[in-house]
Point group: D2
Chain length 373, copies 4
């Protein structure tokens, strides 16, 4: 496994490395860890990596690695650069035949995501997008149960992602400048929807298997002189009369990482919360509430494969991320794997289209805007 970015004190680099270690399927061999080559080498040395496979940039990485014999060559590359570089770097890597594990957001625009999707198909590589929350066992159990019809035909699907971290800076124009997510040049088209709303959207499509047809959204910048959304709601319309909602906020003061989802069907409901990830609530008409927990034999294959410990031993967010790495490892080795074992470029395309439709809807006066596919 190689890594582009993620060196030195990169927080997200650590997350990905830990996730890769947990499953014991990947070994970090080298990469282009830093734009400062000296710092990259210091970093590699600290991790006791081979200095010859620490490269100054992605071009050198690709040239040198592809020159190696196939069995020595790095197979999969993790892209954890700043957001706006995800697209060009992923593109180069795909075209050079590497499998790619890419941080979110996959690209800057939906068109770029579509382009990557075509390239992935053309070059026959595995592309994993790290929508971390889909790796939790109870999220996978939710997906399994919905697919098995346990809650019947879906009639409502809601997801929420509330955080408060923008609140301490949004009220002060000077402080805002310290936050790159509030700068359109660095963050792209959207702050709140692009960063967290898209996770909530992904959770809905991931767990339900539904395809959103159109959205009507109302985004809020809180202040006129703040160009990007920090809060917003998107009404969702699926097939027929089935409705849903994504609401996301970064000014939900003092909320930490409150992502949750509830799906209601004709036979019952399933509810899950990210901050208490090891509980899945199954509501059934006329029955007591059922609370499912990981590690139990009543869970399906997908949740079971995503659990390492016996019941009652809480696994956390690194374990969730590690499950995506495990899924991708199976795909890379050409083994069979369950659909949904890891998010793919398909999830990336859907997410970027959701973000663009949401922005358009809000800008155009809160009108229904299709998400074409």
């Amino acid at each position: 496994m190689g890594m582009i970015g993620g060196g030195h004190s990169s927080f997200i680099g650590i997350v990905h490395r830990i996730a890769s270690y947990i499953g014991e399927e990947y070994t970090l061999i080298g990469g282009a860890f830093d734009t400062d080559y000296e710092r990259a080498q210091a970093f590699a040395s600290k991790l006791e990596l081979n200095p010859e496979r620490t490269y100054p940039d992605i071009d050198t990485f690709i040239t040198k690695e592809t020159a190696l014999p196939a069995h020595e060559r790095i197979e999969a590359v993790v892209v954890v650069t700043p957001n706006f570089l995800h697209y060009p770097m992923a593109k180069q890597l795909i075209q050079a035949g590497f499998h790619v594990i890419c941080e979110k957001p996959v690209t800057n625009t939906a068109a770029e995501a579509v382009e990557l999707e075509e390239l992935v198909a053309k070059h026959q590589i595995v592309f994993a997008l790290t929508h971390t929350y889909t790796g939790y066992p109870m999220v996978r159990q939710m997906k399994t149960m919905i697919a098995e019809g346990v809650i019947g035909k879906i009639q409502r699907a809601d997801a929420q992602y509330y955080q408060g971290w923008i609140n301490p800076v949004i009220h002060d124009v000077e402080k805002r400048k310290t936050v790159w997510r509030l700068d359109p040049d660095k963050a792209g088209q959207s702050c709140c929807m692009g960063d967290i709303g898209v996770h909530a959207f992904n959770m809905i499509e991931y767990t339900t298997g539904l395809t959103t047809q159109k959205v009507l959204s109302d985004l809020n910048t809180l202040y006129n002189n703040n160009p990007l959304d920090v809060d917003g709601t998107a009404l969702l319309r699926f097939d027929d009369e089935v409705r849903g909602m994504v609401r996301a906020s970064q000014i939900a003061t003092a909320e930490e990482n409150n992502l949750c989802i509830a799906v209601y069907g004709t036979e019952g409901a399933l509810k899950w919360e990210q901050e208490n990830p090891n509980y899945l609530y199954h509501l059934r008409e006329g029955h007591p509430i059922n609370v499912l927990k990981p590690g139990n034999a009543y869970n399906g294959k997908m949740a079971t494969e995503a659990t390492k410990m016996p019941p009652g031993h809480p696994e956390g967010i690194f374990d969730s991320m590690a499950n995506l790495y495990l899924g991708a490892a199976k795909a890379i080795r050409g083994e069979a794997y369950l659909k949904g074992a890891f998010p793919t470029i398909r999830d990336g395309v859907r997410g970027m289209k959701f973000i663009e439709a949401t922005l358009a809807s809000s800008k155009n006066g809160n009108v229904w805007t299709p998400i074409n596919d």
Copy 2:
């Protein structure tokens, strides 16, 4: 105290009587309990009431009671008839000078509510509307803390009211006929928003003191051949950039009575859930979560007056309703009482306007619709 309706096996009659007993401020003297006079008398006899003050209809009730000397006359009348009769009966009672305690919905239309508001002012009577949930001590504490600025300036207010009870009937046209709430002739303009959405709306305006300027709503009947909404979302716009949301559903399968509210301000947040009414969550930036409970000295006057037991002794929904009766009793006796001690005709007017705006917005293509005042 008198009662119109509520006799025999009326469930809502029991609720109101218990609420009136709990505070030991009201004594049930008589009423027009039933359209079947014989049954009304049997009922009165079971409660050991004076048979002479059990009347066959509201007209006789008013004629006979107003003929009594002032100190013997029934002072306050509880209206717990079928919904469509609330308006005409309340109107008669107000005009005859009785104080009125009225079940929700106050009227059939916003115009009727405005008319009652004018009559209440003209006749100088006390009019209490039983939005039951405003009586919970922790809801009152929430109102107090927001008014005191504990969470700063509000930037988002969300309320949700999810139930699942329509689900077992909505999928079967025959079964639907057994539910009067799904019949426009009996239920009026709206099922879901009129019955429960309006409670969520009231909770927001009650606790925050904000006035909603406009709504954009998306209501769902689930089936084309079902004329009334059973699910819906309303985006709210308050002053400036402050947003909120009411979402309500009666097809949130297997939900029982899941009313909850969360208000986010510049300094923190307050969250409350009806099914666990004795916990108020206060989130503050940079601090541990604070969980407030009734009966403690740290609560304000309004919550304290609404609590009878020491901490840790859970009071419930009858106690909440009883607090509205206690507030109205103070008003009737001409004593000082805290603003918000009981919902008034003002809440009725706001609620009916919300319902009508929500219906109009959805019908007109999900457009912003003002709630004039």
Copy 3:
């Protein structure tokens, strides 16, 4: 219904009156409310009671009421005097043929309780002891499910009752003097076990139907110059190898009213907490946790009869107490009622024996001490 004590500002008097009102089965007619007769009459006047049936003392109450014709006479009398008077007053009332509803503790000693039990049998009256917590619907559902064998053969039963209210006074000898419960002359043999430990013990025997054979206890006065226990643990031994525990504390600082019970059987477990009384947790080997709530059709008859509202409308501690009154009303009217509908003098005898055995065990060096029956 009559009442001995409970007048003026008596807190416990209010609780009992509200409980009696809620079921609409009792009407307060008169009583000996206060040792200060003038204050008793003022109190009666405030409640609009007949002044002629407000008596200066229990002797007059008994003489005058028994002189009335049977159909006019007060049938049941509530004893809510200071603790040390429960025994003599209950005794007089039983001997005069009144049904008695008595606050806990039933007597000062186990011997007195046994004496009352014999008198109750002899005079064929109904004696209800208000162990309030047995009235909660989910406690009754727990009893029902255990009786039906849902959790198999019991192998462990634990109850805990933790409060912190003694903490602010126990550390200061002067402050202690303000608390009658810490004064052996007024409180009797025990503070913590007598006041709250006995509730926990009663919950175990009530829900499981088991009979405790012996106890080994370790009581704590915290300071040598404090004569009464404020904290303690009692190990319980039932038949065979089945064990359990009661732990109680009044120095569990900042705990409010944390009574909880967990019973483990060969097939599963049931867990309940008083501060969240509307949730019953049913753990089953190999299955998701089941959470039961009141008002649902899956509950048994006993829980169902103890619930007035539809699911999701939380009832509280007054409603729990009211269920005891309803059970006693059925017994008084001679109607059939479910076993366990209200605690009887039997519960009083068991409780007093538990308290005495617990005190003896601790005093005698933490040795096993039988609870004979």
Copy 4:
């Protein structure tokens, strides 16, 4: 880092390897992974380890590794063999100068633990005992707050560890034979207290800093023909009048891994539950309940160092274990580390003495038994 045991499909081996990876401070170099050398080599090959440093047994491991130059030699060795081998293997490793990271139980007897403690001191090595639960950030925060006097002087400390996994086998003599923990030859003196009770005991001494003076215990084998305890309670006596309790059960049917602790002091209380490890409840007299969560600036240094993610991103049991590895790494490198950063041989000695005292107390008729130090 080397490893003794833990090869092939060893569950506990995986746990330790993951924990060592997470902190990026250890690299697995070699070991004696398996009694079957061929299988050991296959295992090493799968992990891409150097085959030359995969040894057939601990003697070869020690001989060969100590023959290497100091900078090449394995520094720390993880002991994850079957329980009865912990003592002899740890002893050999200590005597050979390796740092040791050892699974629990540290030895078979208290005397052996004392012997190891002396050897650790003599050989100046780092000895870490993996009492996993002490690595959770909120457990460390609890320790910090108690040490800082936040809850005042302790007056009660309770811990509980309930599991249900023995239940499906204990009732059937044949099935019992499949469980090595129920076999005195393999499990040692105790099943329940030795396996889980000791964790609860360790949590109390770890978080409070108190030293238990004596215990009175009541152990339960459930059946006469079952030689080892599967359930038990131990009353604890600390200095002065301070009491506490450890209760543990493996027949608490359907409980998963319900370890929890509550400590009450003169100023407040702290409560924590292993299955929801990211919440610490701080109860204070006269204040709302405070709920602390990891990653927040209000936490102390010890909790902060044990957290990698921002607030709201739940870390789990591997992260907890990883924190022990990080603490030991600092000690091994000779860096400063906070007291309590990892459990040491001291915790092992205390734990073994607790187990032996508990067994003796119960066997001798539930009498107070000192835990000498």
